[in-house]
Assembly symmetry: C2
Homo-oligomer: 244 residues x 2
DNA sequence: TTTTATTGTTACACTATTAAACAATGATAA
DNA sequence: TTATCATTGTTTAATAGTGTAACAATAAAA
């Protein structure tokens, strides 16, 4: 973890470069040690947890802004990224969490401060390679860490609902989207792919049925090699076909 | 069609009651004479066509705003309404269409006019009963009319893309959602329901397969009565079960 | 060589879907 | 009254897909 302390000079930060009233929140999923993880940031000194997010520059498209925010937080480009819902409940119209963050960091928090307005949140789902990500806290945050989706802290405002909506979206698209391609290594065994699906769906799948379905889907190619390891038949290793 | 001319006093309209930079656009679908229709409005004297839309009040949730906009345009409450995508391309960052509308109506159009800013559009899909709708033009519009989705005029900005996205959403959800419940009369024949599905999907379905699938879905109840008409067996009439 | 654990394959039952054949029936025409 | 016509409802056969279990293969350890 990088320990370089960034100077918090947000009072002179140019908030004016962004569109007011619209934020982007990202549910960034990764997969590690058989657990589905999501990136959560914690605001400095406040004990307030939130999804990583950002704002839209005045001459930037919505999708480009989401891509930029992702790049800033994960260091990754070319990420699987998908807008899934826009949240605008009145529950969001609550400046208190951000006021606490500002005050705990000794930043003036006048009522008209950019961060204290009501935001409509356009939310994106991202799937990233856990090992390639170097989470980057932002100005106000002292951590941006992976959490097991089943063991999350209480999140700010409606961010808990956003996560649940993202999870539903992920689960309902597990067969349409090429989930594994973005969450697994380049190559993997059938067992590893099945475990990923089970983790996302939160239920066990029948081994042979899953195996057959995947092979019939014609999206995998079997690499002739086998893996070595324990006292049993070695599994084939697979990878997703390039195009589909 | 109501002919009462509303006075166009938009220059004193209180735009300040709305959140800036965010609009709501509605793809409002109806079904009439075996055609899928969508409500399109034409701005007065300008030849500019657009989806009906509106803005979010400062103390109103996003969904409530969409419901209100729908109510204002169709006169209907309790509408099937579903957010499907938020559009924010730079193509939208173009004040010219609205400037034309304002100028053609002799309304001052300074650069800072509310309607000339860049809007991010949260788009909703609505399914309404064609016969119950009394389309209401807004301040700037001289018509709000039903168009066949296959015969639309050129729409403002990216509204054409919005319609196509809404159609894809509708087609992909034709089995998940209870489409017919919102687009057909209370009672209908199996042939009418099939024709609706065919119209939405743009392809022919097998009659007997469709019939059985619908009956097995356990969402229809057959009303003992039959319909009278032509020189052939009379069809049963059906309606959707109350709850599911 | 045998045992063990896990993977890959095959088989069977059951369900869903496609496609066609067939039966039912309200009006019309003979 | 009877035959026919057009359309709807039902049944059947063929095909494809899924859930489940049995069985075969095999790498390492005993």
């Amino acid at each position: 973890m990088k320990q370089q302390k960034k100077s918090i000079r947000t009072e002179i930060f140019d908030w004016n470069q962004y569109l007011p009233g619209i934020s982007i929140d990202c549910a960034i999923f990764g997969y590690h040690e058989k657990e589905l993880k999501i990136l959560i940031l914690e605001y400095r000194k406040s004990g307030i947890f939130a999804l990583p997010g950002g704002f839209i520059r005045k001459n930037e498209s919505l999708d480009a802004a989401a891509k930029r925010v992702l790049q800033e937080r994960t260091g990754l480009d070319n990420i699987y990224l998908n807008q899934f819902h826009t949240f605008g409940s009145l529950e969001r119209d609550n400046p208190e969490p951000m006021r606490t963050v500002l005050e705990k960091n000794d930043i003036p928090a006048p009522d008209h401060h950019f961060l204290l307005q009501r935001f409509i949140s356009v939310s994106y789902l991202a799937l990233v390679d856990f090992k390639k990500v170097e989470p980057e806290p932002d100005f106000f945050s002292d951590s941006c860490l992976w959490y097991d989706v089943n063991d999350l802290p209480t999140l700010m405002l409606d961010h808990g609902q956003i996560v649940q909506t993202a999870l539903r979206y992920l689960r309902s698209n597990i067969n349409n989207q090429v989930i594994g391609q973005n969450l697994l290594d380049e190559t993997f065994t059938m067992g590893e792919l099945q475990k990923l699906h089970e983790t996302i769906l939160g239920e066990n799948l029948h081994r042979t049925g899953f195996h057959r379905k995947m092979m019939l889907s014609d999206r995998l190619e079997r690499l002739g090699k086998k893996k070595t390891g324990k006292a049993h038949r070695a599994p084939f290793i697979y990878r997703f076909k390039k195009q589909s």
